[in-house]
């Protein structure tokens, strides 16, 4: 069979209330395998108590986010050869800024709850210009295309883990949720009340790192800026006694 690399894999472990520590495993693995494969192999052949998140193994569920050598990665689509070399070390840690359940798993359900609050649509029409101008910041549901598709955001939490503002302000609702609000089909009062606050869109410190790690084309930072623009223009309109944009839409 094909070539195998030997790797040292350091995994952050934590059971119950104990302090986190690292365990080291030596593994022979193909460079074309994914980091998630490596983790699953450790579980299957070396340590059955290892906890990690995964479901789809093809970047559609968002359960397998981890920090690989300090950088947030969706491990099911990250090849070993992309992150280390033969004889190298991989340091695996759980995502930051989310509750750690054990070892490499975090609880993503608080993120789901927040996404529900801002009414991020999980399915929306396929954008007209899909693929052509994927860089463009489109809003979901703003297309007349008869086809629908599952939304880009897979609720993986990578953007929350990398965000320096989320690191120090636990109440910050975070990039994914703000992007979710920007993509909400109607930005009603309820959503505005969550977003247009200190712990909403104004907490962002413009590090743009969320867009760098997002594995799923969401570009949360750009969407946060789009939201700010929207909210600012609304404030200016209100100041001049004009109708706000979303009132007009309704």
């Amino acid at each position: 069979m094909s070539e195998k690399w030997s790797l040292h894999i350091e995994v952050q472990r934590q059971k119950g209330k104990e302090q986190p520590h690292f365990d080291r495993f030596d593994l022979e693995i193909s460079p074309e395998a994914t980091v998630l494969d490596a983790v699953e192999m450790i579980w299957a052949f070396k340590d059955r108590s290892l906890c990690f998140g995964h479901a789809c193994h093809h970047s559609t569920c968002g359960a397998c986010g981890m920090r690989v050598n300090g950088v947030e990665k969706l491990t099911c689509i990250t090849l070993i050869s992309e992150v280390t070399q033969n004889g190298g070390t991989l340091r695996l840690q759980p995502l930051r800024n989310l509750p750690v359940i054990s070892d490499l798993v975090v609880d993503l359900t608080p993120l789901y709850h927040r996404m529900a609050e801002v009414k991020h649509p999980s399915v929306h029409p396929v954008e007209e210009n899909e693929g052509v101008a994927s860089q463009q910041i489109a809003q979901a549901g703003k297309s007349n295309n008869p086809y629908t598709r599952l939304a880009d955001c897979i609720e993986c939490g990578l953007c929350i883990s990398v965000c320096p503002a989320a690191m120090t302000s636990p109440a910050y609702i975070g990039p994914a949720v703000l992007a979710g609000a920007q993509l909400a089909v109607v930005m009603d009062e309820h959503v505005c009340a969550i977003v247009d606050t200190q712990n909403g869109v104004w907490r962002c410190h413009s590090a743009y790192e969320c867009s760098e790690v997002c594995p799923s084309h969401v570009q949360p930072a750009q969407r946060i800026m789009q939201l700010r623009r929207h909210l600012l223009s609304q404030r200016i309109r209100r100041f001049f006694g004009l109708q706000s944009l979303h009132q007009r839409k309704q």
């Binding site: 609880d107 789901y112 086809y147």
Partner: protein, 391 residues
């Protein structure tokens, strides 16, 4: 009277849907899953909500069940579906030959198929190969695997079911010839615990044989048969593309988010905890995909993954309560009470499988409670509470 207690082993599609059904029928349900939700076969599916067309010729009962459940789920889990329909396309003479039988079978199974002009098909799906000789529409759809399972789990949880994730069943508790509970270990803390139940439901898919063995029932032999799937980094079609012929390797392309996923193959393995992805199979999938959508050749591969179906050894399959999936009351197979095994089937038919399993469990315990899952509205997957599911 106390609520009857059920313990379900496995939180794949089958386990989650059964938890939902039993919770509605007044059971006190606990689901014990050794990993996170849908980490087994369920997470790693193609994501095709079958119209039934794939089975219309060879397995009409499955085909009928698929189309019924397909139409039902469209209303129940719209949040996790891309409802864009599918196409069956013929590429050569043998496909055209098959098409005649196929159309008749679909009609018999009540699957609405309609022949469309090749030009029309190409206008809808410009990336489809121009070599197609015939095209038919079917009501296929795409589902998001994790979120489909979570939808059922969240609803079950709202109705009182408990989920204990990262908790592995290590043994069964037996009293007087009947299974009365499970012994399990929490992987998050290393603690062991015991759970008692009036009925234990083994919904561990390709691992079902191992649980049956724990009960000493060697009649149920599960041979895991994995298949590969490959995801490409562009949404090259909006409808599901099926090759119009006998079910075979690499004959389905499913669009999902900004990807397309092709599958699948079938071979046998002994060990399913880790199944490596074989490069030659990935290559073969790519070639099959290019036959249908030539643009795949220029598209980056995004991921490749494996999932295992449970193939049931022939000695036991005759005893299954249902034909379209495998449901065994171990009282009948081996004279052990309190244990029901359910495995096989399809993601598309998860609700129907749960219904039949719950019927079996109710009959066993002498409980009369009608199934409500056909009309009971499901909660959003986002309502699932991790804080109650992790120890």
């Amino acid at each position: 009277m106390d609520k009857p207690k059920a313990v379900i082993i496995g939180a794949g599609f089958t386990g989650c849907a059964t938890a939902h059904d039993l919770a509605l029928r007044g059971f006190d349900v606990t689901v014990v899953e050794r990993g996170p939700i849908a980490n087994g076969t369920s997470g790693r599916t193609h994501g095709l909500l079958h119209s039934g067309g794939r089975y219309a010729v060879d397995d009409q009962e499955s085909a009928v069940e698929c189309i019924e459940e397909n139409l039902l789920l469209r209303g129940l889990v719209a949040e996790c579906l891309e409802q864009n329909g599918g196409l069956f396309v013929a590429l050569d003479e043998s496909d055209l030959e098959y098409a005649r039988r196929w159309v008749q079978s679909c009609e018999r199974c009540n699957i609405p198929v309609e022949q469309v002009d090749v030009k029309q098909a190409l206008a809808w799906e410009p990336n489809l190969t121009s070599k197609i000789l015939a095209a038919y529409t079917v009501p296929d759809a795409t589902f998001d695997p994790l979120r489909l399972a979570l939808t059922f789990a969240a609803t079950a949880q709202t109705n009182g079911a408990r989920f204990r994730l990262f908790t592995e069943v290590e043994g069964l508790i037996e009293r007087n010839g009947a299974i009365r509970g499970v012994r399990c270990q929490e992987r998050t803390t290393g603690k062991s615990s015991e759970l008692y139940a009036d009925c234990v439901i083994n919904a561990t898919g390709a691992w079902a044989g191992k649980i049956a063995q724990m009960a000493g029932d060697a009649t149920i032999v599960v041979k895991p048969t994995p298949g590969v799937m490959v995801a490409y980094d562009q949404r090259l079609c909006n409808r599901v593309i099926n090759r119009l012929n006998e079910p075979g390797d690499g004959d389905i392309i499913v669009p999902q988010r900004r990807m397309v996923v092709i599958g699948t193959t079938s071979f046998e393995v002994d060990e399913v905890d880790y199944i490596p992805v074989f490069e030659d199979q990935v290559q073969m999938m790519r070639e099959c995909a290019i036959q249908l959508i030539p643009a795949v050749a220029a598209t980056r591969q995004r991921g490749a993954f494996m999932a295992a179906r449970p193939l049931i050894g022939s000695s036991a399959s005759g005893r299954s309560i249902a034909r379209t999936f495998k449901c065994f009351d171990h009282q009948e197979t081996h004279g052990i009470g309190g244990l029901v095994t359910i495995t096989g089937g399809k993601a598309t038919t998860l609700r129907a499988m749960a219904e039949k399993t719950a019927d079996t469990v109710c009959a066993k315990l002498g409980i009369t409670a009608p199934c409500q899952t056909r009309e009971y509205p499901l909660r959003s997957y986002r309502e699932f509470r991790g804080s109650d599911a992790y120890q």
